[in-house]
Amino acid sequence: MSYEVMVGNKATAVGCKLARVRVAAVFPITPQTTITEYLSEIHASGELPGFEFVNAEGELSSQVIVQAATAVGARSFTCTSGPGLLYMHHPMQETASKRLPLVMAVVHRGVKSMQPDHSDLMSQQWQGWLHIYVENAQEILDTTVMAYKIAEDKRIRLPVAIGYDGYVLSYTAEPVEIPAQEEVDKFLPPYKPMPSILPDQVDPKTFGAGWGEGDPMKPWQMHHEAALNGETVIKEVFAEWGEKFGRTYGNGMIEPYRVEGADCVITAMGTIAGTATAAIDKLWADGKKIGLVKIRSFLPFPRKDFQEIAKSVGAIGVFDRSCQPGMWGPVYHQMRSTLYDEDKKVPIIGFIGGLSGKEVRVGDMYKIGEKTLKVAKGGKPEAPIQWV
């Protein structure tokens, strides 16, 4: 093990190196650009044997190139931000439908501004990928390696997107422990190309072609079940990482902070969850018992975990860093759907903030905690969903 003070984007590139990625096809876009620079340095140095680095002519191509590479058995990586992700929309759906287990970093950049919010990755909810949101550079490195193990698990076989905020994380330097390559090799076995998921297909194999005479809905059901398996597989992989490397992030799906004995909880994703921990400490110091649940996996949504948490808290305040105009925040909707059938009704209030890079401060999260606590104690919220 060694360490380096590095920026979030470098942690991604080092994670790719540790995972022994064979093909990276990328097109630069702020704030993702420096990942492509670090990857090209790794390629030029020759320190990663057999590594192919492709300068794609756009995001649509970069996604198609890594698709093909993954299909023939090369562990592959790509990355993008904001509008670049939107340009990738069409092939992303194919990657998931073809059940190709690649990993992509999405360095958040809003769709209305160059500054970060989660509107880019949230706009890709229907593409059939797993979505993991991370908070700091160490978590980026660790999750990049783990994401391959999750994606390549036979119960999953789906691409994984890792989302993290541009600028405040992509360009922020912090100490990162780099696990030894031998240890990572023991954790993550080499990737082998997978046979078609269709049971009746023999050689030559095709990917994404017609489904023959069977039920046309079958691939949808299999895809959906595989995504739901994420809840089990993500927990297994994160537990194994914790045992081997001594670092844990809750159970992988969620990372609770001071939830035990709390009267209510607030939720947040990505860097804002980090900032929220400071607010939680202040709230407890002021005698206000409020916990934080950092949501790491948005797809699949940690349904079982929140159904369990809901049993012991009086209210849940959900923070969304994106807004679907006309429908409010996606995390808010997931949370309400998750808890709708529970016997105990827990009030859920929504907060929308940090859009187009607006800074979310410790004081903002403190107020959200207070407002949620008021509802937990029987008060009425000013509005079911509020702008921060």
């Binding site: 360490y3 380096e4 003070v5 908070e135 700091n136 160490q138 600028y167 405040v168 994380l169 360009y171 922020t172 330097a173 912090e174 100490p175 860097t271 804002i272 980090g274 900032t275 921990t277 400071a278 800074e359 979310v360 401060r361 410790v362």
Partner: protein
Amino acid sequence: MHGRGGQGAVTASRIIATAAYEEGKYSQAIPMYGTERRGAPLTAYVRIDDRRVRERELVHNPDISLCFDPLISLQQAVANDLKPHGQVLLNVPFSPEKSELAGNINIATVDATSIALETLGRPITNTALLGAFSKATGVVKIESVEKAIKKYFPGRLGDMNIAAVRKSYEKVSPWVPAKNKVAPKMQVDLNVGGYGTLKDVSSWRVFYPVVDEEKCIGCKTCWIFCPEAALEWKENNKPAMIDRACKGCGVCANECPVKAIEMKRVEGA
């Protein structure tokens, strides 16, 4: 940390973060990006803690303010919002008693520009302030700073930068309480977040465009190429600089087909 693009403030923030981690502390270095260019004011932030830093808002109430640029060192903005008895370390060629910065703060000074010119031959002042930072604040040891510098600048460049660190470690002044307690009302905003067109970027300019209306043929090439929409079109069909919006990049002068725009040096810059 306040500096200008090209002075190495972002690298300095990473060197401090690395030096702190060398001493067993956790750290975080956040750069603040706007529409940056060489010479534009920029800000970077460092946090040091005994445990992993998870908070990620910018540092709004610092304990210490570092200033890498002699002109920015004169701006009250670098001393605002400090915690009571906060420390401000300035790169200026005069003693802290002469600083006009106001507040319940302590000031120390070092002539980092001269040190950088002597040791590096260029006015890149980041490492020439870090030695002073180590000595004056005691936040990190000079040995840790030197170790961190070797990671960022291997070989001869590292040695030159370490020479700058050692020199500023010797030369930094003691802390002196600010003589002015009340800050002036008129202040320049150093916040460069967001787009240049929305902000007053007049303080970025080292050069500004002057139009020779005799030569100008009114073709609007300068107006089309200006990246910040900082030229207005006058009734006589000639361009004029919008003071608030021009960052002094010189694209207009470069693109003018009849060379009717001259970039003139701003007095004192």
